[in-house]
């Protein structure tokens, strides 16, 4: 296709061919906005720069890029913080911005005193310390962790007016490195009646959760590292269970104990919570898998389009069942759709960044994205999700997200 062909809309509302930015260096006319400097050397070029730092920090100009948090007024460490997805790019969440859900705060753990106990339906119960685990063969999972309660404002009757990250940011993505759980389980020698494990954290809630043994033997990791460095305290230092593609509560932080059992423990967090009440009055239990979701992270609520012209719509897609197959974007409220470009690599159970060029004509528009994963599952419209699950399931909200743009460039969250 010629370059001129690439400039032709491929769907309603001014969506352009996803390959446009790859084929030609289409510039955004921002040069005029930058005030010209008359001297040959800008001020920071005239003195020697600062020296070295033992641990690098973001630029002082980026201090507003933070997690938002909401906590229990009576217990400071019972709450959540959201990753500012709308202010980040690529597919990796910086460690300091990974979302948090704590049931009773972040424990201060001395790794020299930390122990992991594995017991129950095993031939030999074993205790490991951190130095033991550091000597084991390791593997990495590059993937997302998403709280089962992420995006739950979507169940509300009226659309919440919050930026993408402060509505959907209880999901983050990183490289988790550690010991495959099956290696340690094999050393303990599972008994034939073994069917479940119950994992427990060393936090003040001693939070526990049951996981089917099939999953543990498949792809679970005992992670010691997050994006190359030891796991941050708020993400489970020194040891976190990683359960690829499954809801965040199963990724037990500060993992201290694993009991092998023949039944689930029926913990509070797999009965009273993290179960999804349906309109019938019955509730889904052990709905571990995070189904495919996508959302546009720019433009979204919190931004304003200043003038008509060329923009790049971009966002994130992921699926707890495997790889993202495709992401479609609509700029006319869902009447027509165009394929977005997927940034490579596209990995299983991992954030996939998508982008598509868009020429905004200055008219009111509604933009949205929908993902299809490699199993063929397609992200539902909100109406479809609510008709199946009602509005009181609280967990596992993964409907299509729509942002309305007014002729003035103001952006709001809408249901449609």
């Amino acid at each position: 296709m010629s370059d001129t062909g690439l400039m032709k809309p491929v769907a309603g509302g001014g969506l352009l061919d996803r390959r446009l930015f790859l084929k030609r260096g289409v510039g955004f006319s921002v040069a005029a906005l930058v005030s010209e400097s008359s001297s040959a050397r800008q001020s920071w070029m005239n003195t020697p720069g600062k020296g070295f730092t033992p641990y690098g920090q973001p630029s002082a100009h980026e201090r507003s890029i933070i997690r938002w948090s909401a906590a229990n007024s009576m217990v400071a460490g019972n709450g959540v913080s959201w990753t500012p997805l709308h202010q980040l790019e690529g597919m990796i969440t910086p460690n300091g911005l990974h979302f948090e859900r704590h049931h009773n705060g972040v424990p201060e753990i001395d790794p020299a005193k930390f122990q992991l106990l594995i017991h129950g339906l095993v031939e030999q119960s074993l205790v490991f310390n951190i130095n033991d685990l550091l000597r084991y063969p390791m593997a990495s999972h590059l993937g997302f962790i998403e709280c089962g309660g992420n995006s739950n404002a979507g169940w509300r009757e009226r659309p919440i007016q919050a930026a993408a990250g402060f509505f959907h940011g209880m999901v983050s993505c990183g490289e988790w490195t550690g010991v495959p759980l099956r290696v340690l389980l094999s050393e303990c020698k599972l008994k034939s009646q073994a069917q479940w494990l119950v994992a427990e954290g060393a936090d003040a809630a001693a939070m526990n959760i049951s996981i089917p043994l099939e999953k543990a033997l498949d792809d679970c990791l005992l992670a010691l590292y997050q994006n190359g460095e030891r796991i941050r305290p708020e993400n489970g230092y020194p040891l976190r269970l990683i359960v690829p593609g499954w809801e965040g509560v199963t990724h037990v932080k500060w993992l201290r104990r694993i009991q092998i059992s023949n039944q689930p423990v029926m913990a509070r967090n797999e009965t009273a919570k993290y179960t999804d009440l349906l309109p019938s009055g019955k509730a889904r239990q052990f709905s571990f898998i995070m189904e495919a979701k996508s959302l546009i992270t720019y433009p979204c609520v919190g931004y304003k389009l200043t003038e008509p012209g060329l923009y790049q719509i971009k966002g994130l897609a992921w699926s707890g069942r495997g790889k993202v197959r495709q992401v479609e974007v609509s700029a006319d409220g869902g009447r027509s759709w165009a394929l977005a470009e997927l940034q490579t690599p596209v990995l299983e159970k991992c954030f996939t960044r998508f982008r598509i060029p868009w020429r905004w004509d200055g008219q009111a528009a509604v933009i949205k994205s929908r993902v299809t994963d490699e199993t063929g599952y397609q992200q539902p419209e909100r109406e479809q999700l609510v008709s199946q699950r009602g509005r009181y399931g609280y967990f596992h909200y993964n409907a299509i997200v729509s942002w309305a743009i007014s002729a003035e460039g103001e952006i709001t969250h809408v249901y449609q």
């Binding site: 084991y136 099956r182 001693a206 509070r268 009055g281």
Partner: protein, 175 residues
């Protein structure tokens, strides 16, 4: 059902066979029975893991007043923390109430959760008798046991909660 289980065990055995080759350096040390006893907080629906001890509804009311009411409210509702009792709406209402009495499927979960996590400002402070007692009081507030009742390992595991069969199993491995 029987056939499913046979298939599942077949899979586990095959996986175990593969594991033997990928096992690690075997650095784990045997855990003592004492350590396991001290560390193990899990209480299963069949009563497995419930310790010795007992507690009455009356004793439980005292525990509740001292440790729970400031967040959970008088009689288990109306506080800053979640509702424990006094559901005004059914699970099919808009909006529903989800309390211990109309939502929780197992009474043993009370013991498991309270002993490990509550009260949030001083977790671990309640001894086993107090945990049995406050579990009894919460069951009483929800109309599940009588005021004279006493809870222990035997009686707590025998309770059949009203919403015991209110859940659909979505476990991807065993639907």
């Amino acid at each position: 059902m029987f056939i499913n289980k046979v298939v599942i065990f077949g899979c586990l055995l095959i996986t175990a066979g593969v594991q033997a080759e990928s096992a690690g350096p075997e650095l784990g040390r045997p855990a003592s029975a004492e350590m396991i006893r001290n560390w193990n907080l899990n209480v299963f629906p069949n009563g497995g893991g419930l310790p010795e001890g007992r507690g009455s509804v009356n004793d439980g009311q005292k525990v509740y007043l001292q440790y729970c009411q400031s967040c959970h409210g008088v009689d288990g509702s109306g506080g800053s923390a979640e509702e424990l009792a006094g559901a005004q709406h059914n699970l099919t209402d808009n909006p529903p109430d989800k309390t211990i009495g109309n939502y929780w499927p197992y009474a043993t979960t009370l013991f498991d959760f309270i002993r490990r996590s509550m009260p949030m400002d001083r977790p671990g402070i309640l001894d086993n008798n107090k945990v049995y007692a406050v579990s009894a009081y919460l069951l009483y507030l929800n109309g599940i046991i009588k005021k004279q009742a006493v809870m222990d390992a035997d009686s707590l595991a025998k309770i059949v909660m009203p919403n015991r069969y209110g859940f659909i199993n979505f476990n991807p491995y065993r639907k």
